[in-house]
Subunit: 125 residues, 2 copies
Amino acid sequence: MAWELDSDRPIYTQLVERIQVQIISGYYPPGGKLPSVRDLAAVAAVNPNTMQKAFAELEREGLIVTQRTNGRTVTEDETLLKGIRMQMAREKVDVFVQTLKELGFSQQEILSLIQDVIEGEGKNE
Amino acid sequence: MAWELDSDRPIYTQLVERIQVQIISGYYPPGGKLPSVRDLAAVAAVNPNTMQKAFAELEREGLIVTQRTNGRTVTEDETLLKGIRMQMAREKVDVFVQTLKELGFSQQEILSLIQDVIEGEGKNE
DNA sequence: ATTGTTGTACTAACCACATAATACAATAAA
DNA sequence: TTTATTGTATTATGTGGTTAGTACAACAAT
């Protein structure tokens, strides 16, 4: 399936975030090989240049390593991966809680909304 | 203070979201008058054209009403406002929970993270 | 009546993003 | 050695967002 991309934000940014999650979640394990620029661009249905830009950003963050003519691999630094995982989670939580508070929801109401979603999904899994 | 705007997304979209929250939270009460395009553009430090575009979108959604030569007011349809409030909240919750699950957090872990933030903030308020 | 404020429309210019189409060097695979 | 694949770089083109500047009609305030 082609990746779900929002036209409201730069595509390369969305590619970065998606691949970040795939790495953090273990879909691409530490030390594992990543698809080539061309292949992954084809899968995502974007231009190779755009995927190249996303990979460059991921490399700048240290999540992936480039071997000049033999593709790319996920970093083997699992400490870094775990750190980024927690960092991403905390940022999502902070933004979420702040946003809901701005909408006028109390702490208890926020927790209730979360539990509603979790219990609702529980019936399907 | 100038509004905090992210260069990663269209400014007018961020203006829409910010004003939405201000309306939903009651900062601009139902039936209340909104600043003029030029004034609010000056406050936010953006071009009047951009603010105009944001207002046009808000009007399309029904949140605000335009009086041709006498400014704009927030809709008096409080049922609509409450509906949008819940709609926004549920979407935020859904996206949040899904994102955290993709990062490999369990339901209990998600709840714990939320409680950490809430309790942490409690000490400052 | 005059002045000021309102929403609105228009053009020009700039820039970032995205795509398309090539091209090249390095190296793995055959 | 030859071929294919890799990352990478380049140029050109199109699109959308943003700003700047200007202008106009409608109406409130004076």
